[in-house]
Every structure is written in structure tokens, then in C-alpha cells.
Point group: C2
Amino acid sequence: MTALEQQGAAAKAASLKLMTCTTGEKNKALLAIAQALCDHKQRIIDANAADMAKAKENGMSAALLDRLALDSKRIDGIAAGVREVAALEDPIGQVDKMAMRPNGLVIGRKKVPLGVIAIIFESRPNVTVDAAVLCLKSGNAVILRGGKEAFNSNNALTELMRRALAESGLPEASVALVQDTSRNSATELMQLSKYVDVLIPRGGAGLIRSVVDNARVPVIETGVGNCHIYIESSADLKMGAEIIYNAKCSRPSVCNAAETLLVDKSVAAEFLPMAKALLDQKSTQLRGDAETVRILGGCVVPATEDDYNTEYGDYILAVKVVSGLDEAIEHINTYGSKHSEAIVTNDYISSQRFLNEVDAAAVYVNASTRFTDGGEFGLGAEIGISTQKMHARGPMGLEQLTSSKYIIYGSGQVR
Amino acid sequence: MTALEQQGAAAKAASLKLMTCTTGEKNKALLAIAQALCDHKQRIIDANAADMAKAKENGMSAALLDRLALDSKRIDGIAAGVREVAALEDPIGQVDKMAMRPNGLVIGRKKVPLGVIAIIFESRPNVTVDAAVLCLKSGNAVILRGGKEAFNSNNALTELMRRALAESGLPEASVALVQDTSRNSATELMQLSKYVDVLIPRGGAGLIRSVVDNARVPVIETGVGNCHIYIESSADLKMGAEIIYNAKCSRPSVCNAAETLLVDKSVAAEFLPMAKALLDQKSTQLRGDAETVRILGGCVVPATEDDYNTEYGDYILAVKVVSGLDEAIEHINTYGSKHSEAIVTNDYISSQRFLNEVDAAAVYVNASTRFTDGGEFGLGAEIGISTQKMHARGPMGLEQLTSSKYIIYGSGQVR
């Protein structure tokens, strides 16, 4: 057995225990985890300091260093997040559609944990705790494989969680951190079908591609967001300009940020300068089609086909003037990543057609795509945003970390 | 573009049309398909005769020939099945959890089709129509890849369905049959991630293994069933004998048939001869542990570890005497395929522990595992029985062929 297979076997055994834990037992362990994080801040900060020192040596950018850093306040924030998950409703054990069949069998469908969830993620150490406690609350064991830059931080956090679990009477193997941070361990985890029920990769397009190529375990793809805002001809143009400015510039690195602006040709000449005035506040580079260049002039970089396929994650926005709703919907269904899409309109039929015909996890009328988020949608917390159609679509909360089983009460029925 | 990529692109385009069809439009097409099957029986029978002739030449067994054969009565049965699917409730368009968030956004989750479903199946031609109409009713396009033995039959059925679709105003590319029946086409279909949203393999362990190894599209595994009946010490032993006889012998080739009998040691000496008396009616071979051999004598073949891992699909039953509920649950969670598992008991705590602690799609108290079936569970019809935990578990009806999208009504909200 490899080290990872041993972790897998231990996680599987732990998952069978977690499957039958009560909500009270799980919440007690979660609160113990929150307490342990607060009680052992210095240990976490010391481990994080080792990661930070190495990252600086390796010339990590200031933005990434900031994502890696943990201090007392951030640890308090992580602990507060754990307590919020403890306060969420437990989906496990709910039974729906229970009914008697003509032969007297009483059949119901009960929510149960998925089993063992593997999560591959990149640098931010807070994900270690956030993801683990969502899995635990929904009765799942979790195998975490974080980036090598955050290994010491992740290891300290995981050790504290494991000890808190054991002290609360739950199996410490319910949470495990893969100790090998080479690419090999990620590939091995993707193929650990004997022990892993579901793999959730959280990261960029490169990670997602590697998972699609290598995984032998069921996968929930997350996070790639090539999102559009379409300004329809009847739109309140001021509202439209505020929405595209918010969707592009409030946080360009996240997956629900907009990457392409589509504008109806009848309002383009009036709208584009209004939008540009706001986007200029963040020096947003515009990459536009010929009509956009004609309207806004030489400040616009001519767009290529590639631009419409790109998730910039930066202050760059592709722009296209379209002939109407049909072209907008076709463009989105061709180039979009099926994440979040918005129309700005005051036309009833256009709003309904956009909601029905655009194929995406979240479709908006007159709001920014930036709201696609577990907290904003009222799920309490999220483990990622699914961009596939199977199992879960859009923000995934506790409910999306469950499976079901049919329970059948008989009295001797045979077929 | 390969031939299969062309079919994929056409199916994807068709799926966008189907996504917005009304229930009335879909039902009209389904009824037209049923009518076309009845109107063109001779064409189907002729195509099937070509398959049958070739199969006989190749020495196909009588049992498999029977599964391949189509006659007027069987075609009527297929058409009746199509009409039943037309009569089922359409899950598409249902919106749940619609509510207003504190910022005024109104957010709901709407049931939508998965998109393009690929199905790889083996010989029976009725699956061609059964599977296609379930996909169509739930608004999905479908790419069928049947076995080469049934190619002429499948092709005739598919052509009739496509023509009926076109005549009803739906895209004929909503249903496609892969024309190449070599192994290459199956592998290519498993990797067609640009066009296929979900792959459902229907077949034996070899097909499932090939899918796990090769697939780059999301998969719902179906059909492997290593099911157990556990006779607990308080069981009504006569009921237990009838249940194991039914679960093993009513149709041994199907996935919900029992493969292993577990018997509590306190009742083994009394129960095993009762069970054997019934199982002998079908000359069932018993493969037992040392205690079973001791009780029943030399007619029992000594069981090996392999026997507990095997889905016989035949009149063969593994038997093990266990020390009690703990050992029974552990045995099932170790060797079972998480399909269907049953306890026969009159003990309350044992019944609840079995339902909670056995990890399977369907867990029964005092009934035969043979009931795990979409029709028996009240789903109307099924496209297969999922043995994985992601997306769907157990019998899959129309609801399991859907995804969801969040629809959001705003009034200018930005974040």
C-alpha cells in the first residue's frame, strides 16, 4: 500500500463511522475545531511564517503572498466560519417521497453522505479548514491535497483539526492532508477509485484539464468562469454601465467576474462611452470588435477570436456589438463556460428568453454576475461553484455534498 | 471532424432546441414515435431478421437470441412503453426554493435538461427506444451506441424515431445511433467531452471497467449488483427462506438478484436446510464457508474469497454463517457493490442499524432485493440503476436525467 492508499483506506473506514453520527456529535467536533484554531494561533502563525519565508525566497508576487498569509485576525475569521457551518441545518437523514407502494412496501429516499471526498486546491490555506468542515458537517471524510507553497500551514491546520476530532470522539482519519505535494500525488489521488467517492478540484484551467485527462473517480468540475453581460436595446443604460463595471472591476480575479460585454447595436453608440467612463476608473483595457473600435476609437485593442474564449481574471474586457438577442444568446452558448450570465433589459420577452435559452449555472436579469456565490444565494457556505451539469450546478453547499439511499420497509414481499 | 464528432455537434445543437420545448411538443413527438413503430413493424422485423440470421451463424446462445429477437408483439410492447413515458409528469421547468434575498434579488432553482446524454449498451434492441424516449421526455438529446449484434434493428428503430421527430417539428438529430460498432467508437464516445454532458454505460463489468479507464466525460455507472440477504437471529425463518429463494431464483441474470446469503449462527442449523429445500427447486449450487458445509454436508462447494466478490448472474449462491449483525454489516460493506441489500429480522434495533449502517443504493427490511427497479419504486420507467453516489443513486427515472440552473430576477443589484 502506498502512503496515499493508506490514507484512503483510513478515510473510507472513518466515513462509515461519520455516516451514522448525529448532528450533535458533528457540531460538537466542529466547535472543538474552532476552539483549537483559536487556542493554537501561534503554532499556525509559526507554520505559516515558514511558508511565507520560502515563498518570498522563490519570488512569489505580492498578491499571492497576501493570499498565503495568516495572522491572528484571519485565523479568527476562519474559526468564525467553522462556527457558522456548525450552525447550518444538517441535510443528512432527511427522508423525502416516503410512500406505500401497491404491494405494501414503504419506500423513502434518505439523504446520506457521499462518503470520501477528495479536494485538490491551490495556495490559500483557509480552504483547508473551510472545505474540511463542510465535508464533516455533511458526514463525509475528506482527503485534502493543497499546494506545496502552503504545506506547512495546511499541515498545522490539519493536525489541529485531527486532534480536535479525536478529542470529540470522531475518527481523526475523517480529515487527512496528502503529505506529498508533487504532481504525482495529485494524479494518484485522481485515480484512487477504491476509496474516493467524489473529487472536487478547485483551481485554474490547468488543474481542471489534468483532472479531465487523468481522473478515474467521479469529479465535480468547478471554477472556470467566462461570464457575459448583455446590454439589450431596452436596457436602463445607467444600470447597465453600473452592472458591467461591478461585474468586471469589483474583483476581477474571481470566477463570477465578467469577461465579455455584449451590446445591442441600437444602443452601442450611447452605451459604450458611458460604460467606458466607469471602466476607465480601473484602467480597464477594452478589446473590441470593429464596431466597438469605430465607436470608442483607438483606445480599444482589436479583439481576436481568442479574446472571446479567455477568462482574463484581470482588468481586461472583451466587447462585441451584436445585432440583437439571438446573436447574444448564440455567442454566450458558444463561448461561455456555462457559469454566470446576465442580461440588462426592460423587455419582458427578452428577459424570459434569456433565462430559458442561455445554458449556464446562473442566469440573471438586471443584476451583476458577481452574486454567484453560496453565501449570496443563501446556502450558508460553499465548497466551490460547479460548472458541470451532473450532480450539482452552481454554488455547492452542504446539500450538494450528499447522496441518497432508498430505505424500504417490507413485511415479507417477494416479486 | 470525425463522423462521431459530427453527430456530437448535431446532438448539441438539437439539445439547445429541446431545452426550450414545451411538454406538449415533446409528448406529441413521443406519441408520433409510438405510432411510427406500429405503422412500420415489418421494416423493423426485416431488419431484426438480418441481425438474427447473422447471430445464428455466429453461434449465439438461445438465451441471447431471445433477447435480440423482435416480433409484432414485442414491438407493440415497446410502443406501449413509449406511450407510458409520454404520460409521465415532465420534471423540466419546475422551480424550487424560489425566494427573495435580503438585497432584493429573487433567486430560484429550475430543473433543466442535462443536454446531450450518451448511452452505451449491449444487445437488446428495445433499449434503443426505451432509453431514447426517456431522454427526449426530459428534454435531452441522446447518442446511442448499441452492440454490433443488434445494429440493423437499432438502425431501423432509430431511423423511425428520427423521422417521427422531424415530422413533429423537433430536430431529428435529437436521437442518433453511432454507425461504427467497433470498440474504437465506444472509446471515442467516452472522450467526446466537447459535446457529451453525461455518459450512461449499460452493460457488464467489462464495459464499466473500460468506461472508468477511458472516460473523459461525466459518467453514471450502472448495473453491477453483488447483493446480499442477511437472516438475523430473530427472523421469521419461513419468510427468510422465501425471500432468499425469490432474490436468487426469480431471475438470476439481473443486477438486483442476490449473490450471497448471510445467516446468523444461532439460526443457521435450522434455517439453512429450509432455504436449501427451496433453492433445490432450481438446482441452485451453494458455495459455503466451513460452518455451512458442516450443517448442509457435501452438497455444498467450499467457498473461496472470490465467491464473495462475484456477481454470478446464475443459479449459484455463496453462503456464510456470521456471528451477528456486526459481522453481517461489515461483510456487506466490504464485498457488496452498494446496489441492494436486505435483512430479514423481527428485531427493531437490528432493522434500524441495518438501514443506517449498510452503504448501498437500496436497503431493505423483510423484502426481496428484486424490487430495486424504477417501475417497482414508482418512478414510472428507468434508464438504469446507478451504483455510484454522485448525481443519482439507485433506479434512475426522468428526474435523474435533469440538471438545474439558478434563475435570478434583479432590479440593478451590484455587489
